[in-house]
């Protein structure tokens, strides 16, 4: 295997193909040793794996020739479950011995069923009751209790990886910014890092800091929104309505920077599209303080309300071992005590210079997922404050020249849902021959299904919201 760092390209021929059985053994052994499967895909007759070693801050790349089929990794490594289904669906290559081989994006009629006289099945979606994305949920229940939940997605599949191949072109950045529309800065950063690394562009300290502001404002808005939505799902309306508005306050801060509430146009290869001059920074700081004060007032109510805590505590518990085994990322993993955070483990850009403490909880339940968000919200706000108060000088945007040919580059970013992984592979002309995207939701949907086992079905909306995963980021 070849060791690289975050956003450090390596020549394709530096990653020597392994013999297939050895490839599988080495990947399984690395995962047993604590590595995470960040990406797994097929490209030009080879299987590729990108393994993240959080403690070492290193990424290991491996590949092996493949044709038609190969012995599945999943029986030895649960993290590969979803990846191998994706691979099968996309390339037709069959992982032999996979325990649940079916497509993840083109629907299935073949749901796992629990048999028995008292078992009943509940089907929900794809069109849901609220203003939300489509997805299908199939529950096997005994009375109120969920024995098994199968999640069937793909309704948002619009072919973005295929669109990105052949780029970069004038549409690429817009496709990247809309991989998951609530994570424009997160995916934007992952893409920019990859392009800058492949073209050798140097991003100024000022641009790096402004990207940090964009990423953390995105986290602030979404975490505030999620805390409000969780309050709403247990019928605690004061926090629900306050947080709904506070989320908007954070989005409007991003709009102050770039005109778009979702940060469209803010991150661009080589730097940023907009500056924050002194007056604008003062206004942002004023609004930041106000929003944080309001958030504290609204969120603290949750922890002090017995009726809320009674619903949050012990609901949808996912133990640390399960999170490890399934390869969960982001607040969902940190809520169970796993201290993985790309900002800390694979720091790039501004995070290489300024640290942000990793927030964890222990219990792995809805409460812990909510509480981690609150801790992160406070720490992100402090981080943004610091960046704005000490914004370094530098040009906004550097030129990005042509991309180096025949390279592979893994780019990681801690989005607000967790690790975003982009893998860019270039051809002989420096064009993307492959652009693999792994949204954090790709890892975590299975975690939601696991967390629902043995839970009352009436707790599903609450558990679902505590993960708040992306459909479009998964479906691509």
């Amino acid at each position: 295997m070849t060791t690289v760092h975050n956003a450090e390209p390596v020549a394709l021929d530096m990653v020597a193909p392994l013999e297939p059985a050895r490839f599988r053994d080495e990947v399984a052994a690395a995962v047993r040793g604590g590595a995470r499967l960040s990406a797994w895909f097929h490209h030009q007759g080879r299987l590729w794996a990108a393994l993240a070693r959080d403690e070492a801050g290193e990424i290991q790349l491996a590949c092996a020739p493949v044709q038609g089929s190969y012995p599945a990794l999943t029986p030895r490594c649960a993290q590969a479950h979803w990846f191998e289904r994706e691979l099968f669906e996309d390339s037709g290559i069959r992982p032999e011995g996979h325990p649940g081989l079916k497509p993840i994006r083109s629907g299935t009629a073949d749901f796992f069923r629990v048999e028995g006289e008292e078992i009943h099945e509940v089907a929900v979606g794809p069109v849901h009751a609220g203003v939300i994305e489509p997805g299908h949920f199939r529950f096997q229940c005994h009375g109120e209790d969920v024995l098994h939940l199968e999640i069937s997605l793909g309704y948002q599949h619009r072919g973005v990886e295929a669109m990105l191949a052949g780029g970069p072109d004038r549409r690429t950045i817009h496709v990247v910014e809309t991989l998951a529309g609530d994570t424009s800065a997160g995916h934007g950063a992952a893409y920019c890092q990859a392009v800058e690394a492949l073209s050798g562009a140097r991003v100024s300290a000022r641009a790096m800091a402004l990207r940090g502001v964009a990423l953390e404002l995105e986290r602030l808005a979404n975490h505030a929104g999620d805390l409000g939505a969780l309050a709403n799902d247990v019928g605690y309306l004061p926090t629900a309505s306050f947080c709904g508005r506070i989320r908007g306050d954070f989005l409007n801060m991003t709009a102050l920077l770039c005109g778009s509430r979702f940060g469209r146009g803010l991150l661009r290869p080589g730097g940023v599209g907009f500056d924050a001059e002194a007056g604008l920074r003062r206004e942002l700081l004023r609004r930041l303080d106000e929003a944080l004060r309001d958030a504290a007032g609204a969120v603290e109510l949750l922890w002090k309300s017995e009726s809320v805590m009674a619903r949050f505590e012990g609901a949808g518990t996912l133990a640390a071992e399960s999170c490890l085994e399934l390869g969960l990322v982001g607040p969902a993993a940190r809520a169970a005590g796993l201290d993985r955070d790309v900002r800390h483990d694979f720091p790039h850009g501004v995070y290489a210079f300024a640290q942000i403490p990793v927030s964890t909880a222990r219990t792995g339940d809805v409460f812990a997922r909510a509480y981690v968000r609150w801790l992160e919200l406070q720490r992100s706000a402090a981080f943004v404050r610091d960046l704005l108060e000490h914004l370094p000088q530098g040009r906004l945007r550097a030129e990005t020249g042509p991309l180096a040919a025949e390279r592979i580059c893994v780019s990681l970013v801690e989005g607000w849902r967790g690790e975003i992984c982009h893998v860019a592979v270039t051809d002989g002309q420096g064009r993307f021959s492959r652009y693999k995207v792994v949204d954090p939701s790709f890892h975590n949907w299975f975690g939601l299904a696991a967390a629902m086992r043995g839970q009352p079905i009436s707790d599903f909306p609450l558990c679902n919201k505590s993960f708040n995963l992306s459909y479009c980021g998964h479906d691509l």
Binding site: P126, Q156, L301
Partner: protein, 249 residues
């Protein structure tokens, strides 16, 4: 309980007085309705069209149905012929009305009298999300928060198509969502409306031309209102819906 009440007092009243009072202030860098001054264009120059990600610009016209409001064209134009104002009102009744030439623009007109009688004071919409990036949905949800309080106009998103007067579609309509969209449409009792919100639902947006998706819902349903944006600002959406219902201007 007291803590909740005190918090409630501190948070105050936050619903925008618009349309009876001033609209919430839009940020200075907000990209609203563009103006195009083709008289400034040099002969044969197509610098703007060359950078546009969605082919929204051609022959001195800018198609808001395709526009992502990225402003790459503004940067590329040597003559400052394209300019984005902060004007949020952009919704139109007909697809061709979304094409900007010069400064004049035909905003959405109200439904005709009978439809207005039926929908004007109570409009229930079923939202169908069909393959976009979810930012459109996010900013639709915002209309339900206390800042906008959509319900005060009698407009509401409902859970069942059977309870709805129409659909509000977002996303380009992926192949995988086509059937669900058509079934939902069939389940809405007549008379019924279709609102296409966002570049995706109008033209396919950033995904235009993909075989995995249609280029918007207009290929499948009769659209009554087009709301441009990527995503449309909540004010643009609310303005469009109120115009449709004849409750503005």
């Amino acid at each position: 309980m007291f803590k909740a009440l005190i918090a409630r007092l501190k948070q105050g009243h936050r619903t925008t007085p618009w349309p009876d009072g001033p609209a919430p202030e839009l940020p200075e860098r907000f990209a609203g309705r563009p103006r195009l001054d083709a008289s400034r264009c040099r002969d044969g120059c197509a610098a703007c069209a060359a950078v546009c990600p969605t082919g929204a610009l051609s022959g001195g016209a800018l198609d808001l149905g395709r526009c992502l409001f990225c402003r790459a064209c503004v940067e590329a134009c040597p003559e400052r012929a394209v300019e984005f104002t902060r004007e949020p009102a952009m919704a139109a009744r007909r697809r061709e009305d979304l094409v900007v030439r010069g400064g004049a623009y035909r905003l959405a007109e109200a439904l005709e009298a009978e439809s207005r009688r039926v929908f004007g004071r109570s409009l229930k919409l079923r939202q169908v999300s069909a393959g976009g990036c979810n930012a459109c949905e996010s900013d639709l949800n915002v209309l339900g928060t206390i800042g906008w309080d959509l319900g005060r106009f009698g407009v509401q998103f409902v859970a069942s198509p059977r309870h709805a007067d129409g659909l509000l579609v977002t996303g380009p309509v992926t192949a995988n969502m086509r059937e669900a969209l058509l079934k939902t449409w069939a389940a809405v009792p007549s008379p019924k409306l279709v609102i296409a919100a966002g570049a995706c639902a109008i033209s396919g947006g950033p995904y235009r031309g993909r075989p995995e998706a249609h280029d918007g819902c207009g290929q499948l349903l009769p659209v009554d209102l087009f709301i441009p944006g990527c995503p449309p600002h909540p004010l643009t959406t609310l303005d469009g819906i109120l115009r449709l219902l004849g409750r503005l201007g």
